[in-house]
């Protein structure tokens, strides 16, 4: 019985044995040539990445269609750059997974298209704090201000750092046209007008009654949040930019497009 089993196993493993011996023999030869070894390493290590990444650029179904998708306004992009600067991704994800409790807690699961214009994406890897993919519109500007200023004022058990200096600092708007132009070069479809008026539009977004707000809405759409986010008069602060960014998270693609795309997935199309 045992002997029989042994032969069966041997027979099953035999073809692999031949493969292994071929590997041993060729390696015994290859390990005498440093450049040959280097080349073999790059080839063996390159295959996996090439097979998994290259098709993501070519397969159309990878990213859903959302023709009416909005772009970040200059102020929102400035806020995003502050989010990058402060390393918010170390504690907050922006990716609602396709799991029941996540959908119940944060809202409809995230689609690939929603971060299509995110350079880089901020899906994150750790939730020391909550997911932010759909935080936009969930809290008031006042709440965000108070929370960023000193989180434990509104959420006593929070372990988030206080970001008081955001309220003190003027947002750096001077190179916004260059920033938008760079983003256009890497694939975000900003128009010439949007790039030229970037500074104006950033100022206009915190001044709902001013003239500049009209141009902003014309260029970025009716749904744009035009408010004095930090309730302080004068130039936009970093707090304005940050709140403007947080308030647009999850709002770039309209809910109906998201629902329709998810319905298509569930129907198995």
């Amino acid at each position: 019985m045992l002997r029989k089993l042994n032969t069966i196993i041997r027979r099953l493993v035999a073809p692999f044995g031949a493969l292994f011996h071929a590997i041993f023999r060729s390696m015994y030869r290859l390990e005498r040539y440093s450049l040959g070894l280097a080349l073999a390493i790059v080839v063996a290590g390159g295959i996996g990445g090439a097979v998994e990444i290259a098709p993501l650029f070519t397969i159309d179904e990878t990213v859903e269609d959302a023709p009416d998708m909005r772009l970040y306004t200059p102020l929102e992009q400035a806020g995003r750059d502050i989010y990058l600067r402060e390393g918010c991704y170390t504690c907050h994800s922006q990716m609602i997974r396709t799991l029941r409790d996540e959908v119940d807690r944060w809202g409809p699961y995230s689609l690939a298209v929603e971060s299509k214009y995110d350079h880089p994406m901020l899906w994150g890897s750790k939730r020391t704090g909550p997911d932010l993919a759909r935080v936009g519109g969930k809290y008031s500007d006042d709440w965000h201000f108070a929370h960023l200023y000193y989180p434990r004022d509104v959420s006593p058990d929070s372990v988030m750092p206080a970001y008081r200096w955001l309220a003190r600092r003027e947002a750096d708007l001077s190179d916004l046209p260059e920033r938008l132009a760079t983003l256009r070069s890497v694939g975000v479809p900003y128009t010439d007008a949007q790039i030229e008026n970037a500074v104006q539009d950033a100022r206009g977004q915190v001044d709902p009654d001013g003239e500049r707000a009209e141009g902003l809405i014309e260029r970025y759409g009716e749904a744009t949040n035009v408010r004095n986010f930090d309730d302080q008069s004068g130039v936009p602060t970093e707090m304005d930019a940050m709140i403007a960014y947080l308030q647009v998270l999850g709002q770039l693609v309209d809910p109906e497009t998201i629902a329709a795309a998810q319905a298509r997935v569930e129907a198995g199309e």
Partner: protein, 551 residues
């Protein structure tokens, strides 16, 4: 050290430092008071300090030609010291962020002291500062000994080691000043990334040129792993960091990748930084220092071939397991999961090969804490790779991802495997490199060993508990079908574990400080030893001919 360099090389070093200083000055001027300008000053200062060191020894006499018949160990000495300095800095940042999570107001209202800026300083300080310096130093040691040949050149080893330090300094000081491109474990901005490419290409050519001098027909296993580490890390670094600067006089840039493609690129990079920086390079270390210290040959040559190619081929596929249940297409997730599970075979083959090598030397493991460091590292390697394959399974990942379980897993690897192996390797290397009889105090090594192991165990258990608890709380429903816990409840539940973790981390850092002291005293106080056998086998005449540095 400078006086051991030929006068021509000293002049070359000065020219390179002058060029570096000019670039630094240009950055400082262009930066116009912003963080980019501060980086310019840092580059300038870095070059100036080194130039001053070289200048003060410029007129020292030409070193004797006989030096070319010995190994070139000066850069290794500096590399080991730098690695220990980074260990203290990186672990110091780590402790600070650990305490911040328990006491979030420890930031004194200073932007640079907030969690989001300190955390990348911790990861970069440990992975790239401590781990990278240790990898460079040990690779110089291992490649010379296993090739029985002197390092190729006396300039490029310094260029690699110190140029790399500049990269780490720019990266970490950048995060504290708010320069962060927010790609995890690749947070440094475009100019630091470009600089790293220059350093890395030099590193590769140095390695290949030293291999070309070898007096052994075969390239030893440890060198395969170091080669894989250098090559694949270069590929990963370049692709993941392709970015367009907003201006040439500022730090900001935008990554060319976006959304789902960027996510895949990021975790292809991120996981293979684990695979090729923290695994392949460290396996190179393990394959030299463990058999050497145990004075036993590697258990199986064939097993090392299989596990080497298994690791090189399989690892590259697994990055997508960081993106289970996300907007990444499912076929990529499935590939990542499948390869992650298969990866267990070469990983455990490697761990088994290391542990079986100790057969017949277990009495040494009992008596010699240095060898015990390496043995425990191999065990943690086995545990962590098992856990990694397990966590990559979609269903498990649904629970573990985004929680402290990931943190537990990473630290079982970085503390238990990487750091503990480095300490073992350094305790083995220091007496050889400095020509000492032994470490100053074997008792301190013993103390360091137990502090490191206990610290790691406390840390990992705390984070396992907190991670699993958090994952379960997030998905608990009431009978009415609603979520039972608001998010903030899970934050409150973490607090005791965060404190326990900080305690474990403190123990680990105390052990490291003991190690620093011990190494220092070994250099200063321990009697010298005669290690006549530790030299290259190059025949004298040939060594003379090859003596002209290629630079």
């Amino acid at each position: 050290m400078v006086s051991a360099l030929p006068v021509g090389t000293r002049v070359l070093v000065l020219i390179v430092l002058l060029l570096g200083a000019l670039v630094g000055l240009a950055m400082a001027v262009a930066g116009n008071g912003e963080a980019f300008g501060a980086h310019g000053w840092i580059v300038l200062l870095f070059c100036a300090v080194l130039a001053w060191r070289v200048m003060s020894r410029l007129d020292a006499p030409e070193p004797p030609a006989s030096r070319l018949r010995s190994y070139y160990d000066d850069p290794i000495k500096v590399g080991i010291i730098l690695a220990m300095i980074w260990a203290v800095i990186g672990m110091g940042f780590g402790l600070w962020v650990a305490y911040l999570l328990a006491w979030p107001d420890l930031t004194f209202d200073a932007p640079w002291a907030s969690f989001g800026r300190l955390r990348p300083a911790h990861t970069t300080g440990i992975i790239f500062g401590f781990g990278g310096s240790a990898l460079i130093a040990t690779s110089f040691h291992v490649m010379q000994r296993t090739c029985r040949a002197r390092l190729a050149g006396e300039f490029s080893p310094w260029f690699v080691l110190l140029g790399y330090q500049l990269f780490v300094i720019l990266a970490i000081s950048g995060y504290l000043m708010g320069i962060n491109q927010s790609k995890e474990y690749a947070e440094a901005e475009w100019y630091a990334d470009l600089w790293l490419v220059v350093v890395w290409v030099t590193y590769f050519t140095l390695y290949i040129r030293t291999l070309a001098r070898r007096n052994e027909p075969h390239i030893y296993v440890a060198n395969w792993y170091y080669l894989a580490f250098i090559l694949i890390v270069a590929v990963l670094h370049i692709f993941n960091n392709i970015a367009l600067p907003v201006s040439w006089s500022g730090s900001r840039s935008y990554i060319v990748w976006s959304g789902v493609q960027d996510a895949m690129m990021q975790w292809w990079y991120g996981h293979n930084a684990v695979a090729f920086f923290l695994t392949a390079g460290f396996l190179g270390m393990l394959y030299y220092y463990l058999p050497k210290r145990a004075q036993r040959p590697i258990y199986s040559y064939r097993l090392s071939i299989l596990s080497f190619w298994g690791i090189t081929f399989f690892y590259v596929w697994v990055g997508s397991h960081h993106l289970h249940y996300t907007a990444l297409p499912q076929w990529v997730q499935t590939l990542g999961m499948t390869f992650s599970v298969m990866l267990l075979v070469p990983s455990w083959a490697t761990a088994a090969n290391a542990l079986l090598t100790l057969n017949g030397a277990w009495d040494k493991v009992r008596d010699d804490a240095t060898l015990r460091f390496m043995m425990v590292a191999a065990i943690f390697y086995g545990l962590t790779t098992f856990e990694g394959s397990f966590l990559a399974i979609r269903g498990v990942n649904a629970l573990s991802h985004y929680t402290d379980w990931t943190v537990a897993h990473v630290h079982a690897g970085t503390l238990g495997w990487n750091a503990i192996l480095i300490f073992g390797a350094i305790y083995a290397a220091v007496p050889v490199i400095w020509r000492r009889e032994r470490m100053w105090s074997p008792r301190l090594v013993e103390w360091h060993f137990w502090l490191a192991v206990m610290g790691t165990v406390i840390y990992v258990f705390a984070m396992w508990n907190s991670g699993i608890l958090q994952g379960l709380m997030w998905r608990t429903y009431t009978d009415a079908g609603t979520l039972q816990y608001p998010f903030i409840d899970t934050v409150v539940a973490m607090r005791p574990y965060y404190i326990a973790r900080a305690v474990g981390g403190t123990m680990f850092l105390v052990g490291t400080l003991l190690g620093v002291w011990n190494i220092w005293m070994t250099i200063r106080r321990t009697p010298e030893a005669d290690l006549a056998q530790d030299r290259p086998t190059t025949p004298e005449g040939e060594a003379g001919e090859r003596s002209v540095p290629a630079e």
